[in-house]
């Protein structure tokens, strides 16, 4: 009896310890400085610049990811070609790549002395240490999150519905817009939310490839690091902003299944493998 009690107590202790460990640092951000002071710190030049840079670069990179990633994912999901598994694995590679490696890789490709550096030079374009570099870095590390989920949700579509659309006179493009996109929207939204979260938090690749110039390439994440030794309270305030943004995105991901209505139609997803 006592041994059983002890075990139950041990389980509860472990759970409380884990939760406390994960939440304490987040709570500390808000407790160290009064909320009013925290809000005031956000008015500082550094904070405003960082927020504006983050907003702009995040918006551009998310737009790029959605515009290029969605059709690319659709193609990969709906065609059966040789080396398909390899392509999907390559798409996932940046997910596990250390950020420092992503940074050095981007420099090697787009930097002044990099693979395409000469081409950009000839065109009079400098990429590294500009806002373009921030966008590239964020897009590079965040897009695999979107691509992976987008491919999975397009793959999960009932292909019979796409076939039905074709026999009803819709070409491939109309079928994509009217059938595939709405039916995959739940997965696409979840993918977009994850890539957004990853993009906002991006640090390693950006600082190596784009540097940390206030008002140009210094995003909120970079500003937190830069302000650590200068104005700790500014760093805290920016940290608080990111905690709230991240929490909002997480909430969004959790709520997505509820706000898109069930898309299941005909009885089984295996219908298309039915009688030949």
């Amino acid at each position: 009896m006592i041994r059983r009690r002890l075990f139950a107590i041990a389980l509860v202790c472990a759970a409380v310890l884990a939760l406390a460990f994960l939440l304490l640092p987040l709570v500390a951000i808000f407790l160290r400085v009064p909320p009013g002071d925290l809000a005031a710190q956000l008015g500082s030049d550094v904070a405003v610049d960082a927020i504006l840079v983050t907003l702009k670069t995040t918006l551009i990179s998310q737009a790029l990811i959605l515009l290029v990633g969605t059709p690319a994912a659709y193609l990969i999901a709906s065609r059966n070609f040789r080396g398909r598994a390899l392509v999907i694995t390559l798409v996932e590679l940046p997910l596990v790549l250390p950020p420092a490696v992503a940074g050095i890789a981007l420099l090697a490709a787009f930097g002044r002395l990099g693979l395409l550096g000469g081409t950009f030079d000839a065109l009079g374009v400098t990429v590294s240490f500009t806002q373009t570099a921030v966008v590239l870095a964020v897009t590079y590390v965040a897009s695999p999150f979107y691509l992976r989920l987008a491919i999975a949700s397009f793959e999960a579509l009932d292909r019979t519905l796409l076939d039905a659309s074709r026999t009803l006179g819709a070409g491939p493009a109309r079928t994509f817009v009217r059938i595939a996109l709405p039916l995959a929207s739940r997965g696409l939204a979840a993918g977009a939310a994850l890539s957004l979260a990853r993009g906002i938090g991006e640090f390693g690749a950006t600082i190596m490839f784009a540097g940390s110039l206030q008002g140009v390439t210094q995003t909120v994440s970079l500003a937190i690091y830069a302000q650590l030794d200068l104005e700790f309270d500014v760093a805290l305030a920016l940290g608080a902003v990111l905690v709230l943004v991240s929490a909002a995105i997480l909430l969004l991901v959790k709520l997505i299944p509820a706000w898109t209505r069930s898309t299941s139609t005909s009885l089984s997803p295996f219908a298309r493998f039915g009688s030949s």
Partner: protein
């Protein structure tokens, strides 16, 4: 015109689909076991699968011709396709589904198929029969040159099946189009179709009216598929111009058909009567065996006696007080049998 012509070949997983078919202004049913290539035929006509060789034409216009490299995409083929389980777009209302093809008069089509009150409903809210009507309305809204139906009854439960089948029959009868439908159920085919083709392993074994297939199956598979009992035996000339067939259990059956050597004897369950003792009537064939199963279906009962299935009224079952395990005599006339010669295997 109004004809669908196809002559195609396509290699599927375990066999080669090869068939030539002309469907006029009629309902043609392709029947066969699952995996016989039936659905592939529909997908070929719709342009969702490309044949390896051959030609498909509708009303004289070529949809596919391998020899001259014509392969028109599905959206240009004027084909109405009702998919198995209907494939209605789940995120659209009934009205939007039917209007998807861009037909001119959606309200009229909804009216014609008695789904106008459901116009705003989503597919998930519909019953099986309603879904089928929406699927048909959607396929026909674009005024196609041919209607393709893939297992139209398979998504329905047994209770609604008969009613929906009758409804579908009356819709098909009013269409002035070639209709090609696929089913694994001969009964559905017999009710719905003017002509039936039996497709097995990619080949048409026999084409005819449902009555022709029932009356004269050219192949044991066709026989068993139409629901006949199939008994194997060896035939030799018998008395009175009849053919005597010795079957596996040693008994001898008589048939009015003429054949010699290895044969299948086909007899329909409703031609077999059941009695406690061999009756003294015109039936020449008597099989004495215990009842191995007795299943009631509505007002009929299917009784398995030895290798035979008999179909009798439940009233007769009550009157004779039949139960599983009891020894009875199953009888049928020599004139009720069909002999199909078989190759020694």
């Amino acid at each position: 015109m109004d004809t669908l012509d196809l002559d195609i070949a396509l290699t599927l997983r375990s066999f080669r689909l090869e068939l030539a078919l002309r469907v006029g202004r009629e309902t043609f049913a392709l029947v066969g076991p699952s995996g016989a290539g039936k659905t592939s035929v529909l997908r070929l006509v719709a342009g969702l699968v490309r044949p390896e060789r051959g030609r498909i034409a509708l009303d004289g216009s070529v949809l596919f011709d391998a020899s001259v490299g014509i392969d028109r995409p599905p959206e240009e083929r004027r084909v109405g396709f009702v998919f198995q389980e209907y494939a209605l777009f789940p995120h659209m209302s009934v009205e939007q589904n039917v209007g998807y093809a861009g037909g001119t008069n959606v309200p009229e089509v909804l009216e014609r198929f008695h789904i106008a009150p459901l116009a705003k409903a989503r597919p998930a809210e519909l019953s099986g029969g309603e879904r089928q009507r929406v699927g048909l309305a959607r396929a026909l809204a674009r005024d196609p040159g041919v209607l393709l139906l893939d297992e139209p009854m398979s998504a329905l439960d047994t209770h609604t099946r008969a009613g929906v089948r009758a409804e579908l029959k009356s819709i098909l009868d009013r269409l002035e189009l070639p209709v090609l439908l696929v089913t694994h159920d001969f009964q559905d085919a017999a009710v719905l179709a003017d002509r039936v083709g039996v497709l097995v392993d990619g080949r048409l074994l026999q084409v005819g009216t449902p009555a022709e297939l029932v009356a004269a199956p050219r192949d044991p598979f066709v026989g068993s598929f139409t629901g006949a009992n199939i008994l194997s035996g060896r035939a030799r000339p018998g008395p009175d111009g009849l053919t005597a067939v010795s079957v596996a259990d040693g008994s001898v059956l008589y048939s009015v058909d003429r054949a010699e050597g290895l044969v299948h004897v086909a007899v329909y369950p409703w031609e077999v009567s059941i009695a406690r003792e061999a009756p003294d009537d015109s039936a020449l064939n008597h099989v004495r065996a215990p009842i191995t199963s007795l299943v009631r279906v509505g007002n009929r009962a299917r009784i398995q006696v030895g290798a035979l299935v008999a179909e009798v009224t439940t009233a007769s079952v009550e009157r004779l007080d039949l139960e599983e395990g009891e020894v009875v005599v199953a009888s049928f006339k020599a004139a009720a049998t069909r002999l199909v010669t078989r190759n020694p295997s």
